[in-house]
Symmetry: C2
Subunit: 232 residues, 2 copies
Amino acid sequence: MTENPSPRLFPIVNADVALFTLDDALRLRVLLIQRANRPDPGGWALPGGLLKPDRDDSLEAAARRVLADKTRVELPYLEQVATFSGPHRDPRGWSVSTLFYALLPADQVPAVAGSKTESIAWVDPEAPGRALGFDHGLMLPRALATLRAKVRDGALPLHLLPSHFTLTELQKASEAILGRPLDKAAFRRQLKSSGDLAAVPDLFVRGAQRPAQVYERAAGYRFGDGHVRNDT
Amino acid sequence: MTENPSPRLFPIVNADVALFTLDDALRLRVLLIQRANRPDPGGWALPGGLLKPDRDDSLEAAARRVLADKTRVELPYLEQVATFSGPHRDPRGWSVSTLFYALLPADQVPAVAGSKTESIAWVDPEAPGRALGFDHGLMLPRALATLRAKVRDGALPLHLLPSHFTLTELQKASEAILGRPLDKAAFRRQLKSSGDLAAVPDLFVRGAQRPAQVYERAAGYRFGDGHVRNDT
DNA sequence: GCCCCTTAGTGTCAAAGAGCAACTAAGTGA
DNA sequence: TCACTTAGTTGCTCTTTGACACTAAGGGGC
């Protein structure tokens, strides 16, 4: 990799991603990677990497590429959180790092794998249980707060679920993000009146109890209405 | 100014600012600058400039410096909006630009002046009346939306007002940001119960009507609770 | 000095919404 | 057939929000 020819004049630019998903027990988890390369080899951090102007069309594209490189996962939902900057946050010099959060459907978790040299871990975003490198210890709470604000404002975390799901699953996903229980009746009332979901006719999940109606996203609904725009 | 030695590998990094204030009629206005330098001399744009790693400690500091250079105004309230990026948004090459919005107290507007070579304009952020350079035509609505979301969530735009103000002035400021009228009774109820403001004893604004109580920020209140962090 | 005009500030009521609890519905498995 | 579990609904209360009418207190015209 080429060294920055004049680190004093041109900061390092990279993209970091907080990739959220749900574990088997429908608890919120975030992906950490044990770094193989300089700086800080062996340290845990959010997946991230340098922007490559010759390959990336935007910071968002860079985030997507980094994620695909490190985890073999394509296309999760991605949204910008904030940009961190400063002369000392990266030991290589003055750096700028744009943080994204991403949502991965729970049924795609097994597809995430480390590389030969890097191992991965899914951890509780509120208690990662390890010190994170760079300023990622500040980034993670920010990413979580951004996601929470969105769900608190009524957005549905459909990107954490398969394309078909039950209302109870959706409620559990929302609760996992918000970190507090929600009222079943109120939750369903809101969904009904919003019209964001559509019941899939005659499709039910069966168990040792009353079958649960399966739903899917209604025609026009998007989690990310407030878009992250780049370039023209 | 030094040329970027390898624009293909190291993007241009800069900071842009949407500086909001209120005009005499308490309407929301944003500052535009007519550029003197390359690229796009003579074009109108949000004030902005290149990050200087040898002088700036963060992107926010860069935004503050740029604003001070171009307008002779120090210390307005500053908050990060988003980062825009792409190979073509700046004709000089692959660029990254972090957008901030800033709030300037209405009584400091006269302090803003153009330089010998650059003129300024205060315009309606919803109808700037000119085409903006780069992708600033996308940035401005984003900055306004971020500010609006904050006020809609109950934040008080105290940074648009002098340190002492009446409740009517505060209501007008909120209305200017939101772009819609608010109910006087409801507005005041909220303020009372929040405890964010304190009446200044025996201080009133007099006019050809009942005197208006003067208020100030209560001890612990901050507009920017959700902070923009940088470096460690 | 009195009245009118203007803006400051409060009280009342209805509609809407959030939280809580109890209830019914429909399947499995003993 | 019955107990158990989860799905889904109904009804209530309490709080919040918006609309609107009202009172309060000054200045200026006459």
